[in-house]
């Protein structure tokens, strides 16, 4: 009810990339299911981390949430309003903003920072009494000094340029910002700067975030809740701290275990996960993860596990969620 954005039973089909002939002929091209059975809710001021390897459907989900791709089934609800008619979508457009991948590359090199951060207001036709004052207000919200308003993008550090992108996203005072790989290409020394800023905006200014990433480390310390996407399905959702401490899906556990550890005393000897993600064209029968799962049993190959609650607020799609090997205690591992 009080959800900022809610998704129920979403399915998204996209046309298969066809050859020239099929593009010319007026036949409907076959469509491929990219996302299926997606249920997800983001609360006001919450940071939700959506994790998945490339091709899992993260960007498609973001585009669908913003009305840039059409759902084949399911419900999208923004601030209590079903996103069906034009009025509802207009409300979503007013209340949300998107930060695409490589936002810095999309900053016009010939515009000064002050003009860049207020540009979304101009584009939206929103009247501003004092553009310079508005620029100062936005720079302050992202912790940039007022003097930066006169600079050009190439005169900014990597962290400052990203902050300018966040300021642009904030220009129309959205309740929800969808950020696709917000720290991609950033050095670790400034990655924290952007993640801290998003946490502050959530906590102090009530902005909700959907942070999309293929990098678990990015959301480990900044997301309130996370969802793990595999072949277009959410295989696990729950509070970030709980999921990291006790993953319920073998895929989540494998992802956590695959993260390279900077501590050479905690080197892992075996591989967390073998093989590659299967093609969407050849989605495995039964559990879509069974081809790579280290604990799969016979029923995993034939029966698709439905979603089930394993704890309050925690959902998992796995027949064997109770049996999955937990991340080993690194201290024990070292002493062996």
């Amino acid at each position: 009810m009080s959800d900022l954005y809610r998704i129920e039973g979403l399915r998204v089909d996209l046309p298969l990339p066809g050859d020239l002939l099929s593009a010319l002929l007026p036949i409907r091209r076959p469509r491929l299911t990219i996302l299926d059975q997606i249920d997800l809710a983001i609360a006001p001021g919450e940071t939700f981390g959506l994790v998945g390897e490339s091709g899992s459907g993260k960007t498609t989900l973001a585009r669908t949430m913003l009305g840039l791709a059409a759902p084949a089934a399911g419900r999208l609800v923004f601030r209590g309003a079903d996103l069906t008619g034009r009025a509802a979508w207009a409300g979503l457009r007013r209340g949300s903003a998107m930060m695409f991948q490589d936002p810095v590359g999309s900053l016009s090199p010939r515009m000064r920072v002050g003009a860049l951060v207020t540009e979304p207001l101009i584009i939206a036709g929103r009247p501003i009494a004092d553009r310079a004052a508005e620029a100062q207000r936005l720079l302050a919200r992202v912790g940039l000094p007022p003097g930066l308003a006169g600079r050009y993008p190439h005169e900014l550090s990597g962290g400052q340029a990203r902050r300018v992108c966040v300021a642009r996203a904030l220009a129309l005072d959205p309740a929800l910002i969808i950020a696709d790989e917000p720290t991609a290409g950033l050095d670790v020394s400034i990655q924290g700067e952007i993640l801290n800023l998003m946490a502050d905006l959530g906590r102090d200014q009530g902005v909700g975030f959907l942070v999309i990433t293929h990098n678990l480390a990015v959301i480990r310390h900044s997301a309130d809740r996370i969802g793990i996407l595999y072949l277009g399905r959410l295989v696990e959702t729950g509070p970030a701290a709980q999921v990291f401490a006790r993953p319920a899906h073998p895929y989540t556990a494998s992802l956590i275990a695959s993260e390279p550890n900077p501590d050479p005393r905690r080197r892992r000897a075996d591989l967390a996960i073998r093989g590659e993600i299967p093609s969407l064209l050849r989605r495995p029968a039964g559990c879509p993860f069974h081809t790579r799962c280290p604990i799969a049993v016979a029923k995993c190959r034939s029966i698709d596990p439905g979603p089930r609650a394993v704890a309050p607020g925690r959902m998992v799609r796995c027949h064997l969620a109770e049996d999955i090997p937990q991340p080993r205690n690194p201290a024990e591992e070292h002493s062996r």
Partner: protein
């Protein structure tokens, strides 16, 4: 101790006014995996280009890059070309760089062996064998494929196969896992570890990712603004870093922080301008420990035991 297989002494490289490398000295012994780590712009890829004797056109290079005792940079280009492949080979962040998109993988892997006197069929068999070795599921089929027909992880495996084909003494890998998802990254790390056991030479892994260093390397060089600021075994660097930059870099790594952190640490400021002369320590404007000497004098090399050293006025205090 055997003489180092790779011995780089006082290497400097400038792109016009940009002094991208300033007096870099590193070495690697046979069987070793050494890591080069630092933020973007620190000069890691520039160092890689010098290690394979392929600096960007117009770059000014000074210093020595000795491989098995011979100074690679002093050789005429024709000899360098012979060395590439046989003595030193490179794996790039983008595996497409290693291949021609219009040729099949098999034709290229045969081509790469053009200096070998064996018959073509044997070269093809060797190509298939090495593809199998790096974990391509159906090597004979893969030989008939073009590079873009492979997945990202398989492309990087193929690039590693191409690099190892002529059994180079030195393998240089510049950000080999940066473009990959975490599960593919883990597989490539695992593969490089296995190969190190068979490969008689040395491997230089260049990365901005401390996790890759921790999982893979024996020794590490930390670079900042075109200089090596600290060197040591991977354990020394991670567990007792002596340079404030190394310390700060480790502190920022989210994987270093156990449990919810609240706020993530950062390194305020930015890399110095690499044009013109740098006075004192290059890290001084961002350094929490900087004192008056750091502003005026180039930092001394301070050794901590036989394997660790930091270039810092404050490191020994």
């Amino acid at each position: 101790m055997t003489a180092p297989l790779l011995d780089v002494r006082g290497l400097s490289l400038s792109y016009g006014p940009v002094r991208a490398l300033r007096g870099v000295s590193i070495d690697a012994r046979a069987g070793e995996i050494i890591g080069i780590v630092g933020e973007s712009g620190c000069g890691k890829s520039t160092l890689a280009s010098a290690l394979i004797g392929l600096p960007a056109p117009g770059a000014t290079v000074a210093g020595e890059v000795r491989i098995a005792g011979e100074d690679f940079l002093a050789l005429p280009e024709a000899r360098r070309r012979e060395w590439r492949g046989a003595r030193v080979a490179m794996v790039f962040q983008d595996p497409m760089t290693s291949f021609n998109p219009v040729l099949t993988l098999g034709d290229q892997l045969v081509d790469f062996q053009h200096r070998s006197p064996v018959p073509r069929a044997e070269k093809r068999a060797r190509a298939a064998a090495i593809l199998a070795r790096v974990g391509l599921p159906d090597p004979d089929l893969a030989l008939r494929r073009h590079i873009h027909e492979l997945s990202g992880g398989m492309r990087q495996r193929a690039a590693i196969a191409a690099a190892l084909l002529m059994r180079p003494m030195l393998l240089v890998a510049d950000e080999p896992t940066t473009a990959l998802d975490v599960t593919m990254e883990a597989q490539i790390i695992h593969l490089l570890r296995e190969l190190r056991a068979e490969h008689q030479g040395a491997i230089v892994v260049i990365t901005h990712h401390l996790g890759v260093i921790g999982e893979l390397c024996d020794r590490v060089y930390v670079m900042y603004a075109g200089e090596v600021v600290e060197e040591g075994t991977v354990d020394e660097i991670y567990h007792s870093p002596r340079h404030p930059y190394t310390r700060a870099l480790i502190d920022c790594d989210p994987a270093h922080i156990d449990g919810p952190a609240g706020r993530l640490p950062t390194i305020p400021g930015r890399l110095p301008d690499l044009t013109g002369t740098l006075r004192g320590c290059a890290f001084q404007p961002r350094c929490p420990r900087a004192g008056p000497r750091c502003l005026a004098l180039a930092p001394p090399r301070v050794a901590f035991g036989p394997t660790q050293a930091a270039f810092c006025h404050e490191a020994g205090r």
